[in-house]
């Protein structure tokens, strides 16, 4: 399974995790994840997520997190190598970019970090 296909299983990983659902219970927003050129729109509703692959024309989102395929692959390695183990390590090095309204991201930072690291533990 390639990396992008693997990401499509993210809702299964998140919506079955009672701890993530508890921590995300006050969240309701859409954000964008880009894996290379492939965009994924993720809607969060009380911690549950739904995912739409591909461009969503004229739909707004709160913030976006973008990185190349190799960067996400490194982030999801187990264990990840130094510099690839955390989203902010990747933004510091320029391997990832975060844009938009960051307040909801920062107010729920561990939730979003854990959601986006979930493929690391999915085999």
């Amino acid at each position: 399974m390639n990396l992008v296909d693997r990401f499509e299983f993210l809702p299964d990983l998140v919506n079955g995790d009672s701890d993530l659902l508890r921590r995300g219970q006050f969240l309701r927003l859409d954000f964008l994840v880009e894996i290379g050129a492939e965009p994924f729109r993720i809607s969060v509703e009380a911690g549950h997520i739904t995912l739409i692959r591909g461009p969503a024309l004229l739909r707004s989102h709160c913030f976006s997190i973008a990185a190349g395929e190799d960067a996400w692959l490194a982030h999801w390695s187990e264990p990840p190598a130094p510099g690839w183990h955390d989203l902010f390590a990747m933004t510091k090095s320029g391997a990832a970019h975060i844009k938009g309204n960051l307040q909801p991201l920062m107010a729920n930072l561990q939730y979003f970090k854990d959601v986006l690291a979930a493929p690391r533990f999915s085999g």
Binding site: E78, P80, H85, F88, K92, M106, L109, Q110
Partner: protein, 280 residues
Amino acid sequence: MAQIEAITGRYLNIKIEGRAQRLYFEEAGQGIPLVCLHTAGADGRQFRHLMCDAAVTEHYRVLAFDLPWHGKSNPPAGHQREEYQLTSAGFMAIIRAFIAALELDRPVVLGCSIGGRIVLHLALEHGAEFRALIGLEAAAAQQPWYDTSWLNRPDVHGGEVCAALISGLIAPQAPDESRHETLWQYKISGPGIFKGDLYFYRVEPDLSDRIGDIDTAVCPLYLLTGEYDFSCEPGDTLATAERIPGARVEIMKELGHFPMSEHPVQFRRYILPVLDEIRG
């Protein structure tokens, strides 16, 4: 089975820079004084494993105080009308006042993160007062990786965001229990304290221009940095060590920014040889 640890905690009432402070400190062991300085936004409990390690406490009297405003050291009277900001001069004054009050004779000082940075200041300005200095996750300069204004504002929970930010500085190999104990210390920190600690780190001039003046013949200097630390990156520490003749440097595998608390077993592999060498 119930077990009481060897650590004892006491309060020291002391004037520092003319201001009354009530410092909480813990200690264990006997021998060479080893004063431990915690990271920004945390407290001295980060060193509890070192204090319960017989290989350390057999030869060292390990002490760790909570900086004012941290842990069980209250903010000073009148704090309610101030924004907390730690300066390098103020930090050094606290350390030296603590050492003088307890009449510690040429202690070893081990500091992590901001504690590691201040160790470099101590080496520059007061090296002769110490038997050796150990900087964990320390460098003369390092690049910022986030905007510290996120750390204390009404629409973001300070404890949660501090912990979530620094969670990435812990190595993936850290045991889960130790990882979350380390994070807990950030969740319970007072409002704006982590941000205030970073003042001297982020706002005051760094040590780039002065670091080469450290004389390791006066006081030996050891620098140890975890390979997963992207705040003080291994390259930052190596670049610092290159400019200090005689400085000993090691990059620690499978460790991040909080070696003594995130993975105590892995950390002792690196710190015990250093402590053995220092006592000779």
